[in-house]
Symmetry: C2
Subunit: 239 residues, 2 copies
DNA sequence: CGCGACATTGACGACGTTCAACCCGGGTGG
DNA sequence: CCACCCGGGTTGAACGTCGTCAATGTCGCG
């Protein structure tokens, strides 16, 4: 637990050109013309977060639309009893909160930087009126939300019918496709993705290690046989 | 298994006034003026489905926006291995597919009438351009999708940390709030809501019966002590 | 050097799925 | 009118998975 100050974001300047470039790589804005991208980029400002810093908390009303510019952010949900699942791992170009800007009301989710991260913010109202002016943004958002719903429902079904090891394989394969061979996650973080405990994850990883599919070290997993991994976990998750 | 013809919807005429009244009671259209309601009602047409009939199938491209006018529809998701969870129980005024009209692409869900049902359809493109013209519709849709995501994530957490009986209590309480004292569902349908098997549901119901919270008969559950039920399942689901 | 976060492993027990048998009631066809 | 069948309910028993608790190891940082 570091000092509170270290957890809050520090304002940081980012070039207009850099913001434009970011938004050109943001799926939500796909299909927009250059002028529109520039318009929304003009309203954006950035903050830097240290590893472990909180971008926003649970039960906090939504004030901004957030997009990750650099680093990696974990968006997760925590129950009263302390179980936590991670709902989204966002890196460059990925938004953290698609629903909040429209309703303004607080939701169950909180966002935490997993490494040194820069997040770009747009005022909720500004983003809202921009989105409403630009239909394609709306359609993009709704289609992303659709994927999110499908993904969550898929996870429910997996919880019902797939054993821990199978779910972990799916998680690893998904992360492999998104981040490459070397995955910098702790067993606990993987457990929050697979919907299980640290210990069960560790045991399953032990078995995968024996099968020569992965190697693992402290806070790090390497996929040694991607092909086999792909074979074993036919589907992929959405994170 | 009845004849195939019986499973498909039969076109049926509904008064314009009746369609207007329906859409006035449809949350998606909340905030619209009368003229706008009339415009969308003018584009709608209805079909009747027998109990067990399919409104739409999994993996089928989306052609229409659907709203239930009468009866009850179960929207559910089925895995390869046959596990099924029900994602939504829609009665009068509830839409069946919010995402489909925007993307057009097929999704994981299928919809089945649980009783004699009338569903109103609007052409996907018509609905889409109508929604885009009327911001409030968009905002309503996104906020519903947000609830759906929260609900699905909540179910994942419940699968992790709550035993079957607890989940069933939540299901029963939710249904009680939506449909009243007498719930016309089979144990299998309840199981699909609680994310478990028929047998486990039955066993849990046996315990609730002994505790005097419910009574149950063939295809029917009655809540005898709603207060106790509410107490035992603090939160509620979203169906 | 020592603490804290992370990894690892064993033992144990609870919960829930699965399989199987059985009952019951109502509808259907002979 | 009766026999049958099917969908649904109910219960028992066996089994396996996984979560929990606990002990121990180890790495890296302050």
């Amino acid at each position: 637990m570091s000092l509170q100050g270290a957890n809050l974001g520090k304002p940081i300047n980012i070039d207009f050109a850099e913001r434009v470039d970011l938004f050109k790589n943001t799926f939500v804005f796909e299909g927009l013309g250059d002028d529109d991208i520039k318009e929304i980029a003009g309203m954006a400002f950035a903050k830097r977060f240290a590893k472990g810093g909180s971008i926003f908390y649970q039960d906090e009303p939504c004030e901004f639309f957030h997009v990750v510019a650099r680093g990696l952010v974990k968006v997760s949900i925590c129950s009263f009893s302390g179980s936590r699942i991670t709902y989204l791992l966002a890196d460059r170009g990925e938004p953290l909160n698609l629903v909040g800007p429209f309703t303004g009301s607080p939701r169950f989710i909180s966002a935490e930087a997993l490494e040194e991260t820069i997040v770009v913010h747009v005022n909720r109202e500004d983003f809202l009126s921009f989105a409403i002016k630009n239909h394609v943004v709306i359609i993009n958002i709704i289609s992303i939300l659709g994927s999110a719903i499908d993904s969550a429902n898929g996870r429910i079904i997996d919880m019902i019918e797939k054993p821990v090891e199978q779910r972990l394989l799916k998680v690893l394969y998904t992360l492999y496709e998104k981040f490459g061979n070397t995955l910098k996650f702790t067993s606990n973080e993987l457990a929050e993705l697979a919907g299980t405990t640290t210990e069960s994850t560790l045991r399953a990883m032990g078995r995968l290690r024996k099968r020569g599919i992965i190697t693992s070290g402290r806070g790090e997993v390497s996929i040694t046989r991607p092909a086999k991994l792909k074979l074993l976990s036919d589907e992929t998750l959405w994170v």
